[in-house]
């Protein structure tokens, strides 16, 4: 294994389809028109010296190192800014050029510390390389003149340092922050010799607008911006390509290693989801893998009030099997079940559902997607015939109108948000449908054309009203509808949305959005060119979550915005493998590939492959499991990589359900909140310690690759295999590639997937089969998966969760950039510096009368329970609405959320809870009690077994 060295072509690829042929140093080369001479030369393997150019950024032409000579043209133009021309003859090396370049380098080096031998970038510094390339041998100016060598280092960011003494003012960092990340946190301050890089208003990085994405660090050619881990550990010696395990964007990274130690994670240019960009989580927040609180030995206890006892893997697995068998004998076959995780790989998820269906002999398997995107599955399946987003991320390059519904990509899907922002800066229009004024409504160089700040719970009303405008103003794409959709269903829908109660004027009354704004947004969506909808949990986590997904699909079909690049309906998935865990048959009614368990032929194929009869009836969903547990009929649960106590609604009810079980098995990295109620703890492995695949929000299947040995000795999939065997179900896999082979054999949409193909192509998007051997970037091109597109009637139903005199405010929940889900990983990294605690956002109009000021503790109560958090008074939320995140267990935001849920999928209504906010002086009794109980429950006996 070696360090993967990516080729830097100096300038981005040109998009033209016209070719241009020229000669460089006597060799002919053909490139697309618009290509720079520098890039064309690199295509021939000729590396023209350069400092200010790199191929992730537009050329800038400031360093003057890349000069070339062109026959018949005067002077020595910069090759990074000069485009190729037909018949051009270029020379990259002449005595004149050599002398000019040496002169340039001399100037740079005369103001640069000469501590190469002890510099952290030694071996990975372009300035050093260029000094070598131009043959610099001495510096005539001496180091006595004015210089920047005493400039003070900024180490405020936990992950990288900024050492201005080493800066050559190439502005790559500034341009990376603008062009790649879109944050505009950096500037070049001053002019000429006095110019220097500054964060924000010349403040420390941590106090600036910087979101720590790392793009500037990666772009910097010197040691000026460098990862602290490199300073600490030294330069890496080999690298392995893998996939981020945080969010549904699925960024590819090179894990750069020294032995089994990660030195840094560097976004991979060839990654098709991220094209070399990253966010603070994937780039920097992997330290949790080494955190001291990780549990590395299996543990058991008789009662949840006992301390944990470390045991051998054999003993732990033996206990799981004997307890599960005992429970089934005593309470019946249906008394146990399993929960898969969207954080686990496709292979692991597949095995857990196989264990449940074939080993436990029931279909009591569910996944945490229940609480996030289950409505997407139901809604898109009903309308289009498949449970997935329609586009690849690259599609955004062709979008003219972006409509964002209930999603906050700059926080939850940052790398995709950067691409979206770039497209918006290029002139695409933006519609935001969200109760909160999310960052994208207005951020540097981005301004939404329309923001529809609707009352939580009224998505369906607003989308129907948009449909009303489209139908009544004759904006329907009739050709598309006639050709591609079920016409009778369309006519029924058109008549329905045209009814007066769905008009913008009527909807204004329930949703609080001005009718004219709805009208303008609808017109823009229908007539603005390629229009694409991106949506998030603000759509799904409602009692009408599924209906909203359908309403979105209706709009896309009515306007013909489906089936080509630039358009479509795109769920932004929260966790990294939400798509994959759903694909892999994690729902109680569905086998892998979204096929109902009651379909005889499908079930038969699995029965034949697994050698066991399967139950044809759907099993229990997570909330039903908990209900059954409280009712005394459900007694054993295997939870892989999930923390339902923290992530699921109505914490009191979840706790009661878990407490009523006789054997709760938790497999995770840390003693999570659910583990407080567990009898068996099986240590999990991080994504750095195992092999497998994740499927991102664009259906892209990508490898994760093991870069270090599993710290607990075994990978997660091996644990599931061991449990299956102990329960008498034979599973024989030498490695996860064989699990994928079985998935491919049994699942039509995965038929063409194999590790060999993933290694060859880097990634594929399902469906990947005989008709699409290299996968499917855009779906429903000629026909919908279900045949004709199906319009659905989406009657708006106000949620039962209404503000009352006792609970007059509506609480909605979300997430922020630096933290991930329940925070188990990110809380164990320096990312906490950005988010030490969850806070409650409240509008001044609501805060004032309650005597609440920013920073105060407040009591947040609903009919389900109460908790305390600190308040932040802000106009980001509308009057009457409060907002919080759920990353910290002590906050227990879900103590407050209720058990109301989506009608079709029981996805909980996290986005609307009627609450009251009152001043408070500290944690509630439940929080204090909970903290005590959690501490009790995490005791581990000192005298450990082997």
């Amino acid at each position: 294994m070696t360090l993967i060295a990516e080729i830097d072509y100096g300038t981005p690829a040109a998009q033209s389809t016209t070719d241009v042929t020229l000669t460089i140093d006597g060799v002919e080369v053909t490139v697309p028109a618009g290509t720079s001479i520098m890039r064309a030369a690199m295509q021939l393997g000729t590396r023209i010296p350069k400092l200010c150019a790199t191929d992730s950024l537009n050329s800038f032409g400031s360093c003057r190192l890349c000069l070339v000579e062109i026959e018949g043209r005067p002077g020595t133009p910069a090759s990074c800014t000069t485009p190729v021309a037909p018949g051009m003859s270029v020379r990259t090396q002449t005595p004149r050029l050599a002398q000019l370049r040496r002169g340039v380098m001399e100037l740079y080096i005369s103001d640069h510390p000469l501590d190469c031998l002890t510099c952290a970038a030694n071996g990975d510094c372009e300035l050093q390389d260029m000094a070598g390339a131009v043959g610099l041998r001495d510096v005539r100016y001496g180091y006595q003149g004015a210089n920047h060598l005493d400039a003070v280092k900024d180490a405020s960011n936990p992950y990288f340092t900024f050492d201005p003494a080493k800066c050559i003012v190439c502005s790559r960092c500034v341009r990376a922050c603008e062009e790649v990340q879109g944050t505009f946190a950096l500037t070049i301050d001053g002019r000429g010799f006095g110019s220097k890089v500054a964060a924000g208003m010349a403040e420390p990085f941590m106090e600036s607008e910087c979101v720590s994405c790392g793009a500037c660090v990666q772009a910097c050619p010197t040691a000026t911006l460098i990862e602290k881990s490199v300073i600490e550990l030294g330069q890496p010696e080999h690298s392995v390509v893998t996939t981020c395990a945080y969010c549904g964007v699925g960024c590819s990274f090179k894990a750069e290693m020294r032995g089994e130690e990660v030195v840094r994670m560097v976004p991979w240019k060839d990654g098709k989801a991220n094209h070399g960009h990253s966010c603070v989580k994937g780039r920097f927040a992997w330290g949790y893998a080494m955190h001291k609180e990780r549990i590395l030995k299996p543990m058991l206890r008789e009662k949840v009030t006992d301390p944990w006892r470390e045991v051998s893997w054999e003993e732990a697995i033996g206990r799981v099997a004997s307890e599960f068998k005992r429970i089934q004998t005593q309470y019946g076959r249906d008394a146990i079940g399993g929960i898969t995780s969207s954080r686990c790989t496709n292979e692991e998820t597949y095995l857990v559902q196989k264990l449940v269906r074939a080993g436990f002999g029931n279909n009591n398997v569910d996944t945490c997607a229940r609480v996030c995107h289950s409505p997407t599955g139901y809604g898109l399946n009903a309308t289009f015939g498949t449970s997935a987003g329609t586009q690849d991320f690259d599609s955004i390059e062709h979008t003219d109108v972006v409509m964002l519904v209930g999603a906050n990509p700059t926080d939850a899907h940052p790398v995709f948000a950067s691409r979206m922002k770039r497209r918006l800066r290029e002139g695409a229009k933006l519609i935001v449908v969200d109760p909160r004024r999310i960052d994208l409504v207005r951020s540097p160089h981005v301004q939404a054309q329309h923001h529809l700040p609707l009352r939580p719970g009224t998505n369906v009303a607003v989308l129907n009203a948009m449909g009303h405008v489209i139908v009544t103003e004759g904006l329907v794409n009739e050709a598309f509808v006639r050709e591609r959709c079920d016409l009778a269903a369309f006519n029924e829908w058109a008549a329905f949305v045209a009814e007066p109660r769905n008009s913008p004027a009527e909807v204004e009354k329930v949703a609080g959005v001005p009718a004219q704004t709805i009208i303008d947004a609808a017109r823009l969506y229908a007539t603005g060119g390629n229009a694409a909808i991106y949506y998030g949990l603000g759509v799904t986590e409602h009692s009408q979550g599924t209906t909203t997904v359908m309403a979105i699909a209706n709009l896309a079909m009515a306007t013909g915005n489906i089936g080509r690049a630039g358009v479509g309906v795109n769920p932004l998935r929260g966790q990294n493998n939400v798509q994959g865990s759903c694909d892999m048959g994690s729902f109680p009614h569905e086998l892998p590939g979204y096929r109902h368990i009651g379909t005889d032929a499908v079930r038969a194929s699995f029965e034949a492959a697994w050698g066991r009869p399967l139950d044809k009836e759907p099993g229990l969903r997570i909330p039903n499991m908990l209900d059954e547990a409280v009712g005394g009929r459900f007694k054993g649960l295997y939870v892989q990589g999930e923390d339902i106590l923290q992530s699921d609604p109505d914490t009191h009810h979840v706790a009661a359900g878990l407490a009523a079980m006789e054997c709760v098995v938790v497999q995770d990295l840390f003693l999570n909140e659910t583990a407080n109620y567990a009898h068996v703890f099986l240590p999990g492995s991080t994504f750095l310690e195992r092999d497998g695949t994740f499927t991102n929000a664009e259906r892209r299947i990508q490898r994760i690759r093991r870069v270090m040995s599993p710290r607990a000795g075994v990978a997660d999939w091996e644990v599931t295999v061991a449990i299956a065997r102990a329960m008498g179900l034979e599973m024989n896999y030498r490695d996860p590639s064989e699990i994928m082979d079985e998935i491919a054999q049994l699942t039509p949409s995965f038929a063409g997937v194999s590790y060999a193909k993933l290694d060859e192509l880097g990634s594929v998007q399902w469906p990947c089969n005989a008709t699409a051997p290299e996968g499917t970037p855009v779906m429903h091109i000629e026909r919908f998966v279900r045949g004709s597109g199906q319009f659905m009637l989406t009657e708006y139903q106000p949620t039962d969760e209404r503000s009352t005199r006792k609970f007059p405010l509506l609480l909605t929940t979300g997430r922020i950039l630096s933290q991930y889900n329940v925070g188990a990983q990110t809380r164990r990294t320096a990312n906490v510096l950005w988010h030490e605690e969850d806070v409650l956002e409240i509008h001044p109009a609501d805060a004032g009368p309650r005597g609440v000021r920013s920073g105060d503790w407040v009591r947040l109560s609903s009919r389900a329970g109460e908790t305390t958090v600190r308040a932040r008074v802000t106009e980001r939320v509308a009057p009457g609405v409060v907002y919080t995140t759920f990353h910290h267990p002590m906050t227990q935001a879900n103590v407050v959320t209720t058990d109301f849920s989506d009608w079709a999928t029981n996805c909980p209504e996290y986005k609307v809870t009627a609450v009251q906010v009152t001043p408070s002086n500290g944690p509630t009794e439940w929080q204090t009690q909970y903290e005590e109980q959690a501490q009790q429950s995490r005791r581990i006996l000192a005298d450990a077994a082997d």
Binding site: E617, N624, T794, D899, S901
Partner: protein
């Protein structure tokens, strides 16, 4: 909230979505939904609840449940 109350609420929520489709399709839609997504025990419980008067259950889901009951009785007889 009792277990039956929960099932009733879930069935009513389902019913309210399908109501827009008109009576005949709605009853069929609700029944199919219950068959595809509810466990046999949940279905048996809601059938029993209807047999005991069906308190709280809206008209459409009630008729869908009756249809399920008839189908399972027919299956049992066959």
């Amino acid at each position: 909230m009792s277990h039956d109350d929960k099932l009733v609420r879930m069935a009513n929520d389902i019913g309210r979505f399908f109501a827009a489709q008109g009576e005949a399709r709605a009853v069929e839609g609700i029944a199919t939904h219950l068959r595809k997504f509810w466990t046999p025990r949940m279905r048996a419980e809601i059938i029993a609840h209807v047999e005991h008067g069906g308190a709280g259950l809206d008209d459409l889901p009630r008729r869908a449940v009756a249809r399920l009951a008839a189908a399972s009785a027919a299956a049992a007889a066959a």
